[in-house]
């Protein structure tokens, strides 16, 4: 997810500013008498965030909250901040935001906090992501709600171990080092996979988010290790390349593939056997929990400063079940 | 004889510099016209106008008596005006044959498609160099001309121009980089072309060469026509005086006829 958005950062500003300008005024907002207002401001137009909104909508209905939703057309500080300013002007009770930059959004969000708006970050964070510590200039948000990527890595490890019968060699196909989400997934994966004595972990390969490179890596690893049992594709493109590499080697179904994220179309890949397991984040839960926390704040309750949301493990056997299928991200 | 090529009242500016002011010239078949003048006098600029590289701001060109409009050097070449530029204009990375044929490569059919006829280009390269008595080792003939000496390169530029059966041949300091025997060879060549009825415009700083081969001398000075003399009616001293301008005022009235 993270990488996807860094790529979107470069979308040309002009087009997006124009599109965004139209959505700025909250003309149609009629503040229902006494109804608390929560604003949700995600990172960029993406199935992931539309899914998050649906969770938020549900919680808002349960709690009798008016939910404002504005979404930038590009993953970009210059796209997100003007929307943020407009929201501050509307003075909602709580702001749920996925900051697009952990440093550059500190000041604009401080403005919101100073205006009396309670800030919760969802999916991404500002500063170190550690809030209410009493130190640092980015500890003012009240909570951070996001996937626990380390836990996600552990889940991937268990799923891959199960798929390969807990023995054989595996390796991680990763984007590139230095990205917090994928790095954490790797940490969790390595911790957990080490618990299986008959599984050997080969060196990690980095593909710079290029499916072609990922596929070439799989080919080379297979040349060295023809008995390769499984691959963990740490993000979407790693997974895409890994499955193509396995297919070209004629090892579909033999080499098991676990990928992170449930992008649209993942159900087809699972059914065709291109991918064996997909670990879906729960953006809807992020939205749901975020709004619930907001409601708690409005009622004067205290909330945890960090809340990890869960995952759904998808495979061929369960993907058709409604309560699994619904976790595929969609617009 | 009627001039084959004429330039009338040519003027051209580069930014603030007036490189040519109202200059005219004409050259007839079988005649060798020498252009003389100091460095920066405008000789190269004048021939670049005639060969289609520059477009004059004023003045006209005539070929065989008819107005001539040159959009680019290709137009001039199509009329049979071949030029050896002072700055050579060779593609350093290509071999001798490719340079001689640049822009007019011979083609032949191979495997049902038209491809460049490299064997012919190589053959012609050899012939052209032989004609000028220039020795280039076989292995360098196929290599980039950048590896050749200045004289050898100059010979290629000359060879390229003479290969194409020019009606007007313009040579801008063709012998500057050549050894004495090769210089002599080029002079012989000019005599030969003259005999064949080619009109030659020769730019040279070497008065000995000019007097050896030219029929007429046109002297430029700071972009203006300083004088025009028939070789048989003048001498070196007078030409030098015209070039440096001692007798500028006097000659100006003398040539205004």
């Amino acid at each position: 997810m993270i990488k996807r958005r860094t790529l979107l950062q470069s979308l040309t500003g002009a087009a997006t500013l124009g599109a965004m300008g139209a959505s700025l005024p909250f003309n149609n907002l009629v503040r229902a008498a006494g109804k608390p207002v929560v604003a949700l401001l995600p990172g960029v137009v993406d199935p992931f965030y539309f899914t998050m909104k649906r969770g938020a909508d549900q919680a808002a209905e349960e709690e009798g909250i008016e939910l404002l939703f504005q979404i930038p057309k590009a993953w970009n500080v210059t796209d997100q901040v003007p929307i943020l300013k407009a929201i501050i002007a509307k003075k909602p009770d709580v702001l749920l935001i996925s900051p697009v930059d952990k440093d550059q959004l500190i000041q604009p969000l401080k403005e919101a906090a100073d205006a009396g708006i309670k800030v919760i970050t969802v999916d991404t964070y500002i500063g170190e992501g550690k809030y209410q510590t009493g130190s640092g200039k980015a500890d003012f948000p009240l909570s951070y709600v996001a996937s626990d990527n380390t836990e996600g890595g552990r889940i991937a490890a268990r799923a891959l171990a199960k798929a390969i019968g807990e023995k054989g060699s595996v390796y991680c196909e990763n984007n590139k080092p230095g990205i917090s989400s994928t790095d954490q997934r790797m940490v969790g994966f390595e911790e957990e996979i080490a618990k299986f004595p008959n599984i050997k972990v080969l060196k990690t390969q980095y593909n710079e988010d290029d499916a072609n490179k990922a596929a070439a890596h799989v080919a080379a690893v297979l040349a060295r290790e023809p008995d390769l049992a499984g691959i963990f594709g740490v993000n979407t493109f790693s997974g895409m390349g890994a499955s193509e590499g396995v297919k070209k080697a004629g090892k579909s179904g033999v080499v098991k593939i676990v990928v992170f994220d449930a992008v649209p179309g993942i159900d087809a890949s699972l059914k065709s056997g291109l991918v064996d397991v997909a670990i879906a984040q729960k953006p809807s839960e992020m939205g749901y929990v975020g709004v619930k926390f907001a409601s708690d704040l409005i009622k004067g309750k205290t909330i945890p400063t960090w809340q990890g949301t869960g995952f759904v493990v998808m495979d061929k056997s369960n993907i058709d079940q409604e309560d699994v299928h619904k976790y595929i991200y969609s617009n | 004889m009627k001039p084959i090529l004429e330039a009338r009242n040519i003027s051209i500016r580069f930014g603030g510099v007036e490189a040519l002011k109202n200059v005219s010239l004409g050259v007839s078949p079988g005649e060798v016209l020498a252009l003389a003048g100091d460095n920066g006098a405008g000789k190269s600029t004048l021939i670049k106008v005639i060969s289609g590289v520059y477009h004059p701001h004023a003045g006209e060109l005539f070929f065989d008596g008819a107005p001539l409009h040159l959009r680019d050097p290709q137009d001039a070449r199509a009329k049979g005006i071949e030029t050896i530029y002072q700055d050579l204009a060779l593609a350093d990375n290509l071999d001798v044959g490719s340079n001689i044929f640049l822009g007019r490569e011979p083609m032949h059919r191979r495997f049902g498609v038209n491809v460049i006829n490299r064997p012919q280009m190589r053959k012609v390269a050899r012939e052209v160099l032989d004609r000028l008595d220039i020795v280039v080792p076989e292995k360098k003939l196929a290599g980039p001309v950048r590896t050749l000496s200045g004289g050898q390169r100059q010979a290629i530029a000359i060879g390229r121009a003479i290969y194409w059966d020019a009606r007007v041949l313009i040579m801008d300091e063709p012998t500057a980089a050549l050894g004495v025997p090769e210089q002599r060879k080029v002079m012989e060549l000019i005599h030969g072309l003259k005999a064949q009825g080619v009109a030659v415009i020769l730019i040279s700083h070497n008065l000995h060469d000019i007097f050896g081969v030219a029929d007429r001398i046109l002297v430029l000075r700071r972009g203006e026509l300083a004088g025009e003399r028939l070789v048989k009616e003048t001498d070196g001293d007078e030409i030098v005086r015209l070039m440096v301008g001692d007798t500028y005022a006097a000659t100006k009235t003398a040539t205004a006829t």
Partner: protein
């Protein structure tokens, strides 16, 4: 006598600098072959699987590098190819889907993609040739435009999934390798045997002399940037075929590999030299290094270092080549 032997020696060194990419590739293959025989008791090279994997890995950057070879010979550079490839990957998927996702629709999609690429190449070429913008800047602008256009065309998210039998075929087994190989042969022929190729070299050698020889230099340059963009487009189409999805970032990391392949293959960034076969060897060297280092289980980051070193080496050799040739 001594003169001649020194001359011969220099000649041999000059020959060596020309042939070094071949020798280097040979050395690499020999090294990995020996390693494979000793360590795992299998052949590295004489192994259909490895051969296919290496050729497949080389084919993607090679498509970009083929057009790039022409551009670099004219002493230009095309930085836009990576994202033009991404744009093409998205456009072919979108147009094919919009027109019904049939075989005919695929042809429409491919035609539309090549048209989009041709337009982007035309813009780059016009900037460079007619408006005098340095190639580095002009194509960097197109890099941004293609990047933005790619993501915008992809809609929300940056991939467009597509399931089309024709596309699937194009991405199956050896097909991408064969397509790349055929195009490579054609372009080798064009560069070495036709006037188009000859003028490409002439422009790179001396733009002014090419113009004085009557070559329409500006038009020719524009054609070359169109060619480069179209090859990037083919790269994008093959990507979408292989992954059943077009991604706007498909070629992002291929740009540097493609330039590296051209440079390792013997082209000079100053223009005038280079050829398609050299580029092929360059791309193979990179692919063999990347494949081989994983094969002998070296840490991933050594691949970057190794490719970097080879690039530096080839540039150095290029610098000394001329001196040696002149001396010889």
């Amino acid at each position: 006598m001594t003169d001649i032997s020194i001359d011969d020696q220099l000649g041999r060194i000059a020959l060596l600098t020309r042939l070094w990419p071949w020798l280097f590739l040979l050395t690499l293959l020999t090294f990995f072959e020996i390693w494979a025989q000793i360590e795992v008791g299998r052949s590295f090279l004489f192994n259909a699987y490895n051969a296919q994997a290496i050729l497949l890995a080389a084919s993607a950057p090679l498509l970009l590098a083929t057009g790039q070879t022409f551009v670099i010979i004219t002493s230009g550079i095309d930085l836009s190819v990576g994202f033009v490839m991404g744009l093409a990957a998205v456009v072919v998927a979108q147009v094919t889907l919009l027109t019904g996702n049939t075989e005919i629709a695929l042809l429409v999609g491919i035609a539309a993609t090549l048209l989009v690429c041709a337009i982007s190449g035309w813009i780059s070429g016009t900037l460079v040739a007619r408006l005098g913008v340095p190639a580095f800047i002009g194509t960097l602008g197109m890099y941004g435009v293609a990047r933005g256009a790619g993501f915008l065309s992809a809609g929300s998210g940056m991939t467009v999934s597509i399931d089309n039998p024709g596309l699937v075929w194009l991405g199956t087994g050896w097909v991408p390798v064969i397509v790349t190989g055929l195009l490579l042969l054609i372009m080798h022929f064009v560069l070495s045997q036709t006037r188009f190729g000859q003028y490409t070299y002439a422009i790179g050698g001396n733009l002014q002399s090419a113009a004085r020889a009557g070559i329409d230099v500006k038009r020719h340059l524009i054609k070359i940037y169109i060619l480069s963009a179209c090859f990037a487009g083919i790269g994008g189409i093959v990507y979408t075929a292989r992954y059943a999805a077009g991604a706007a970032n498909a070629g992002e990391s291929m740009l540097l590999d493609s330039i590296a392949a051209v440079v390792i293959g013997g082209a000079s960034l100053f223009g005038g030299t280079g050829n398609v076969i050299g580029t092929l060897i360059g791309a193979l060297i990179i692919a063999v290094i990347q494949f081989g280092l994983i094969f002998i289980d070296v840490d991933a980051f050594w691949q970057f270092i190794a490719v970097g070193v080879v690039i530096i080496l080839s540039v150095l050799i290029d610098q000394y080549k001329d001196k040696l040739v002149r001396a010889a």
